[in-house]
Subunit: 247 residues, 2 copies
């Protein structure tokens, strides 16, 4: 029996949503991959899979990992942590089966694989024993500030990226200290985020972006958004500009 | 005489340096553009031009804008501000000549056009009177954390981007407050940046990256870099991970 060469796990950054904002490298790796894996909400086709569609081989082996719980549950909840840890263990084990059989696996990642997101939990579990290659992608926030036609940083601006899951005091403190800011994971955190923006004196500058670079894209001043339910992956931008010395 | 349709200015994000990390959209727009413009240091071919080479038309009209002063001069120096303002005025005027003649112009941007950089000075001068479209790109910092195999943010990490031009006290304060940090524009600021990292208690975690994703790429712990002259566009990373709740 000849020894099988083990496969490589590719973390493939797909960018912010517009399939044309994928890189040439991501398109090349996807079109060669015998196995494609991706995370998705139960019962949905999955954003990542939708972005990648045009580049996936007809004879691909496809594996979808369906989150057992909603992303909206609090991270610090013990039941959540236990359920999602088991889920990540099983997902990693499923990838490793292919790698051990000598098949490369392309794991689809919305945005950039090393900037938040589920890929990191696979990376941390697989990198020690297997070859892992990461292809960076345009972040969702970059897609959003482009969609909003809002240059985010000039000159010597400081930019801070804040998960909307932080408490109001922490959000307000960081918002006061930064020239530019991006608030991710808005969803049910929106009332708290609005309060923090008011308390930092920055509410009027905030821009709300939903589905940036995708069909159904929505860009509005946060002050004009009104009361409504918003998706978890929407983003709020505070563009910089104080660092702009040359006008 | 028939009226000429005026051209569109495309701000084309080229990504962090590896030409294959350009987007499909950037490649398409470049291959159609009758005029390509780019900024560069005097006497150099220019990074942006080098990244884009494979996609530029053989019959293209090419315009290089050569910086009149080094990027290493202090932003707050009056002579610098005056020289560079004149330079941006002339560069914008030169682009507008093409737009008024009905020719689209692709302005090459390293990284992402709306994240720092000279494109913004063209955007602010041209957008009111002409059509401007922006194609986002992978940021240089994203190329650097990928090159360093250093996931930058997990879970609810706060990430701060700091220009190395800030003073030591401001750097240290922001470094203390963030989970993850990226320090841009290192160059001759390196001694000050090291002092700020020490004072924030984070020196040992810092990673130095030069020419991320490009030939000559260099990744090392900052503690092992030693005393040396480093390029302006090198980057220092402080990876996050405190926000990682699930291991």
């Amino acid at each position: 029996m000849t020894e099988t060469k083990t496969g490589t796990l590719f973390g493939v950054g797909l960018g912010p949503g517009d399939p044309e904002l994928m890189t040439l490298k991501a398109a090349r790796v996807l079109s060669a991959a015998p196995v494609v894996a991706h995370f998705r909400k139960a019962g949905r086709p999955g954003h990542a899979r939708t972005i990648a569609t045009a580049h996936i081989r007809a004879d691909v082996i496809e594996t979808a990992f369906e989150y057992p719980v909603t992303t909206e549950i609090d991270f610090r909840d013990d039941g959540y942590v236990s359920a999602i840890r088991d889920f990540y263990e099983r997902s990693a084990a499923s990838i490793i089966v292919h790698l051990q059989a000598g098949r490369d696996v392309a794991l689809l990642c919305e945005g950039d694989p090393f900037f938040y997101g589920s890929f990191l939990h696979m990376y941390d579990r697989i990198k020690a024993a297997h070859d892992v290659k990461v292809i960076p992608g345009i972040t969702g926030m970059s897609g959003c500030w482009t969609a909003a036609r809002a240059p985010i940083t000039y000159g010597d601006d400081v930019m801070t990226v804040l998960p909307g899951t932080l408490d109001e005091g922490a959000l307000a403190k960081h918002l006061k200290d930064a020239d530019a800011a991006v608030i991710m994971k808005v969803g049910h955190n929106i009332a708290k985020i609005k309060a923090a923006l008011h308390s930092a004196g920055r509410f009027d500058d905030a821009i709300y972006v939903e589905r940036g670079t995708m069909p159904g894209e929505r860009v509005t001043r946060l002050a004009e958004l009104g009361e409504c339910v918003v998706p978890y992956f929407s983003i709020i931008l505070l563009p910089g500009g104080k660092g702009r010395r040359i006008t």
